[in-house]
Symmetry: C2
Subunit: 396 residues, 2 copies
DNA sequence: TGACTTTCTCCAGTCACAGGACAAAGGTGC
DNA sequence: GCACCTTTGTCCTGTGACTGGAGAAAGTCA
């Protein structure tokens, strides 16, 4: 099958494609209400898009009291690939042009295996999705990696937890292997874009999206666009110091947030508590599997284990302390908490909220929702699809 | 004299006005090199601007090997007023259309006297500048106030150090009194705009501008534009916690940065040191005037006083600790330090730099200049002129 | 069945703009 | 002093973008 070759020829067409992506099928008249163009001009641009095959006319809509309208929709065969490479697992999903997830696979994988091994697996997962009949091919792919990225080139830079990835031409390599356009970004930014597109952050212009997983990062959205910083490392809040001369961190400094709270730190603290017999619940689980993860802590907390709850509260306090500072600085309209540890749920959220509402200025917190992400592991892959569709649905 | 009544009719004209503002007089040909318009279209727009009187043609430039060009410049009679209302003093300046300061007055004034008294003084200062022959009237004014502002309406909101200002319609009131358009913003944002226009931050897209005066604030510039946050309180870093359960702060919390370092905190610490006889230099100065300010500490430090140097270093460390976090989060291309305490100079800067370079990630600090502002007290007033000119030099 | 609404197409006129021809005004080399 | 080149600026025409109105198509409602 031929894949998407055309691109919008001008800003109007790009605008129309995005409206159709975000609002679903629409009649010409409905589109006209949203774009401030005359009906004639709009008709011309829609016709051109129909010619390119990017959109199709399918059927008549119900009448609204007059002539029935033709439904215009994005080409139903368009498929985007969203790839979210985490520290310990990979998510791959196919979406249609409206960014609805048609199929989603998750597989464990250690990112430290290096880019070659990881991409081999990504390609296998993509092939699996294709083989299942969900897609005949991919028109574009958006990839998230757990570290800073030089965005224009799609190349990771100095990633702390990804030895072997520094400078690897991810965009170029995957674009060749997949045979479609590829965009690469930080996984946290992808999550922010996902929650913005289909989650809790719809219609919020300026917000923060804190992802707590193996590490801690923060997606920054300014005026609806992801802010990446001068060298692509914006949002790297895991190594903000929360305790002068505190715990040693893997980065070489002392007292970093990540040294106190993250998937890894939480697991370590839980194992220590189990070892010292401070928590029967955790000890039992430790004896069962020989190791503990954030999931065990969440389960223990759900079972009412005091030590587990304390661990979560302590971590939430540390995180809240940092977020409070960021709220004062950035004055967002929303804070989203997501990532692997969201399973810790409301205990975590309550601790974070307490810190932020107590420490930040009333003007900044007065009307500030702090909520859990609503998409879970799909946020990243939807964000990936969104990233590449934003790219493809912009003037060539 | 009739003041500026016309506004640019379209984006091209606005672009041309800003080019003339930032680059000074230019020929049509030179303008054409910068705007990506055909010479014919450019000529049409320039002619229209000439008709409105916003720009004038004055004289012929030297030949560059061919026909001599006509110089096009902004109307020489245009005058902008920049007003920077600080906690303890007011700066007012007149600029021409190129935002060059023609006259500048500073007078002490306690902002707690309330808006009516303050604006009476501002109007008197403006009248004085006008009487000196520098301006026959003002075409626009940009005002900075030391607290958060609801920007679109030009109204201070919940300002901590400005009782009586909450909700006062600054923009509307001053616009009536001055008889010209007025824009209002946070004083820190004005400083950032000033340094961006004429200071160290020229040609930097994303940067932070930390102002340490009576309080501590931070101007945030994203992609060349000031970022103000959801409720206008972005950059309010003075109340970020640097010490859990630390010193009581005026805001009601404990351990805020401002409780440890700001003009006020520094003066208090200095007086305490003088009182306890820990610093002969400061004691002498205290006996002379009965009180101490940041200026005294700076002088003592310059004289080699160890206690004064320690105070500055300690404050710089605290501030650097916060800035380090912001650098990790925001990944700016430049950090500017300004405000009243810049007189503390390189001792302060060195302490801040040490903290930031030590705590933030190498990727964020690798190529990050941390410098003192270059405009001093004129940054704010130039920023004010810039604010209103940006407004007036945009399509009506 | 007629009046009215909504949707969509067609067409003519207007405006924005590019690009070439040309004029004006200077420099340079012989 | 003259021919020739460069630079600047103006004029003019053709093209494409865009608007708004007329009208056709296709429906609803009384």
């Amino acid at each position: 099958m031929r894949r998407m070759t055309a691109r919008p020829a001008n800003a109007h067409q790009a605008r129309l494609l995005r409206l159709l992506r975000d609002g679903g099928p629409n009649s010409r008249a409905q589109l006209g209400d949203q774009v401030d163009l005359s009906r004639s001009k709009l008709a011309v641009e829609v016709d051109r898009l129909l010619e390119t095959g990017l959109v199709v006319a399918d059927g008549l809509a119900a009448s609204r009291g007059g002539r029935r309208s033709h439904n215009i929709r994005l080409a139903p065969a368009l498929r985007f690939l969203g790839v979210d490479i985490g520290a310990t697992s990979i998510d791959v999903a196919v979406t249609n042009a409206e960014l609805e997830v048609l199929g989603h696979i998750n597989q464990p994988m250690d990112v430290r295996e290096g880019p070659v091994a990881v991409f081999e697996q990504v390609l296998a997962m993509a092939a699996k999705l294709r083989a299942s009949g969900l897609a005949e091919g991919f028109d574009g792919a958006g990839i998230g990696v757990p570290g800073p990225v030089r965005f224009p080139e799609g190349v990771p830079v100095a990633p702390p937890i990804m030895p072997g990835w520094d400078g690897f031409p991810v965009r170029e390599a995957l674009s060749q292997d997949l045979g479609c356009p590829v965009m690469v970004d930080n996984d946290v930014n992808l999550m922010a874009m996902g929650e913005q597109h289909a989650g809790v952050a719809r219609s919020v212009g300026d917000f923060l999206c804190v992802k707590i997983g193996t590490g801690i990062g923060c997606g920054i959205v300014v005026g609806g666009d992801v802010y990446r910083g001068t060298t692509g490392s914006a949002g790297d809040i895991g190594h903000i110091q929360v305790e002068p001369d505190g715990r040693a961190c893997a980065c070489g400094n002392k007292g970093c947030l990540e040294a106190y709270f993250s998937g890894a730190a939480l697991a370590r603290d839980a194992e220590e508590a189990a070892h010292h017999g401070r928590s029967p619940e955790l000890s039992t689980r430790f004896e069962g599997s020989g190791r503990l993860t954030a999931v065990d802590v969440a389960a223990a907390a759900a079972a009412g284990d005091a030590t587990a709850l304390d661990l979560i509260r302590a971590g939430g306090n540390r995180t809240g302390q940092v977020i409070a500072g960021l709220v004062s600085f950035f004055n967002p309209g929303l804070v989203v908490i997501g990532g692997g540890v969201t399973g810790l749920g409301h205990t975590l959220l309550a601790a974070i909220r307490t810190q932020v509402y107590r420490q930040s200025l009333p003007l900044a917190t007065g009307n500030l929702p702090i909520v859990l992400g609503e998409l879970g592991p799909t946020a990243g892959v939807i964000g990936g699809a969104r990233l590449i569709s934003d790219h493809l649905f912009s003037p060539a």
